[in-house]
Symmetry: C2
């Protein structure tokens, strides 16, 4: 492994990890902007803007964008979360120049009024489609309730109202502000020559406007609560619960990840054996989500409506037991194996490695090799788990549910 | 790259490709058996048997199987096609011994009557579920019509009748016959020590019964035809068409693959630009499928019912044009880039490499490095495409369709 780091004079951060033995290269622009950086008036603009990147630029028509990616055989996509908008592609190294050119170009899209109007309809359809999914509604309500009054409670897609009222000029202004070079991390992973990457970055990104900086990191103070939506078209009851956990810059995040695997991995976890395997629930999982300045455990299960109450109690009993007694040596060892396997399997392709590389930098300005993560994982012991659970116990603080039930 | 090859005295073939720089290992047992090796009485037994592998053995209960795979963080699965039943897992190298033990054990399952009866219900449900999918019905009918009277026309899942009537003793007999060691290829890819692999193979596979051998490779003589199923619950009309193409051991398969990409890749192909982009069809693709002793081009499109006839004509016109005039230099160059990218990106993980490694051996007793495939690809020229199209023109020989239409 060979790691390189550089900052252009406008503030664009470039990080690159060269891997021996791989045959492709992945590159991604991680823009430090997402739903949490929006205001009520422009709710959903980050995600809408991500779509607009594929609608053309001054130099590339929308057709060009797809054609060029296609001709070089790129695997490419984009995504928007509460905190990051990401544009990425994986290709053979010989296509790096044209792919870099295109990817750098599309994140400064033309934002033409016509394209904006057409794409607005697509976004509204997407919102309508997601609104039909009980798990989407449950997640939206969970985040809104848990992070009430905090930017993390904002919706990534926005609403029919906010998107319907959004003006193209508002998007242009948001873009000017949030896509400043200092807000962007370019990550490269796989097979490449560092001087070439640097040259391409100068060529295509030197002209980007400077500016940007850290977002305010006000800690969330979740008060909890219940949000219930009765939807008889859903046969199952969907239940999501959330509680505070370590934030993205907290070293205890590794222990939180381990605990989430022990309690709620999709197979072989406590929830699996006590809810799914006996047939009490269709699915039951716990995940650990890290954000800037905040973190959350998120539990989810779906089941026959009449099993909802008993399952909430079962989950509560499992949480209590772990908070009180902790986890066993055997559980810890198994969870370490699982997590280690996932880290390694995920990182084998430049495309997978890119994600860790970029997110580590975006959240922590930190470079960590796969070996560093594996080493940290190896050192997590029962005392670390104990310390985590004392500071951040598993709880059913905030509940969001969608399904046939009229009350819980 | 380092390649190893060995045959146990019972006939089990072992092949292994060691890759520098990867951190995991993938292993798979490729059993040379599938739907084409069945008789009417046991239609679907190969796929049913694949399921039974996860129902336990003399040494592992069904719960054990899932638990052990889960504890080592394995990515594992199995699949059944017309020609191959595959069981595979990818893991960290330190878990090779227990994963090898388990994978080798489950392909000699207990085949208990109780488990058989329970799993039969699961298979019948699976058949029912697939029968609801227009594309599944269209594919089944396409293969049956195109390969009428030839073993490749057999259904992988079987039918309600064949599975309903199947006896556990018939499955045991099929297993004895088809899972003989000489019919199995063990492939290993990624990070491993060859002496360890060999020792594990001796330990776990030496006791397997010898026997097995090549299946009869009678060439198919497709006569073509039309099979139409009217299904008003489907809003779209689904159309599949098939014509002969080079077989798995024919060097022209590379040219056939290139032609299928130029004509019918899911983006940027002739079908894409003439059917999908203008909105005449929802989806339109051509694939090249290789089998032992036979091969096929398969075209598929779905569209509004009233566009069916015009689309069949559009596809016919594209085929005629390519058969007559061939493809352009630019098309050939672009298709080469696409295929090269896919080969490389797919092969970067041991899991992806395993598939090429095993299928090359199963079809051709041949080892090819990624570089060999890339080199062959580079040499394909317009004359090769011409020769292919003269021997195997694109045709609409056999047609299968499912949708609202009552006639074509």
């Amino acid at each position: 492994m060979e790691f390189h780091e550089e900052r252009l004079s406008n503030g664009l951060q470039i990080i690159a990890e060269k891997s021996p033995g791989v045959h492709s290269v992945a590159l991604g622009f991680f823009v430090r902007t997402g739903a949490r950086d929006e205001s009520d008036e422009v709710s959903g603009v980050s995600h809408f803007l991500e779509h607009m990147a594929f609608k053309g630029t001054a130099r590339h028509s929308a057709d060009d964008v797809n054609r060029v990616f296609d001709e070089v055989g790129a695997k490419y996509n984009a995504s928007t979360s509460e905190e990051v908008t990401l544009f990425y592609a994986a290709i053979l190294p010989e296509y790096l120049p044209e792919t870099f050119d295109l990817l750098a170009d599309i994140i400064r899209p033309a934002l033409r009024q016509d394209d904006f109007d057409v794409e607005k309809k697509v976004i509204l359809e997407e919102i309508g489609m997601y609104d039909d999914q009980p798990t989407y509604t449950a997640y939206e309500n969970l985040m809104q309730t848990h992070f009430a009054g905090h930017p993390l409670g904002r919706s990534v897609l926005g609403t029919n109202e906010s998107i319907g009222a959004l003006q193209c000029e508002q998007m242009r202004s948001y873009h000017r502000q949030r896509y400043a070079a200092g807000n962007i991390v370019l990550a490269v992973a796989g097979k490449f020559d560092w001087p070439d990457v640097l040259k391409l970055a100068h060529q295509h990104c030197d002209s980007w406007p400077a500016g940007g900086g850290a977002r305010p990191r006000v800690a969330a103070r979740p008060q909890g609560g219940l949000k219930l939506v009765t939807r008889t078209s859903s046969l199952q009851q969907h239940v999501m619960q959330m509680a505070p956990a370590p934030s993205a810059d907290d070293a205890r995040r590794y222990a939180a990840d381990i605990v989430s695997v022990i309690v709620g991995d999709d197979t072989g976890s406590r929830l699996f054996w006590e809810l799914v395997d006996p047939g009490h629930a269709e699915t039951a999982e716990v995940a650990y989500n890290e954000f800037d300045g905040s973190g959350a455990y998120m539990a989810y299960f779906s089941c026959a409506p009449d099993q909802t109450r008993p399952n909430i109690e079962r989950v509560g009993a499992i949480f209590d037991d772990i908070n009180r007694i902790g986890v066993t040596d055997v559980e810890l060892a198994q969870a370490r194996s699982k997590v280690a396997s996932r880290i390694v399997l995920r990182s084998e392709r430049p495309m997978g490695r890119l994600s860790s590389l970029g997110h580590n930098w975006v959240h922590r300005n930190e470079y960590r090799r796969v070996e560093d993560d594996l080493e940290t994982l190896r050192t997590i012991n029962l005392a670390d788990i104990r310390e985590l659970l004392d500071a951040y116990p598993l709880r059913q603080l905030t509940t969001s549910t969608v399904g046939p039930l009229e009350s819980l």
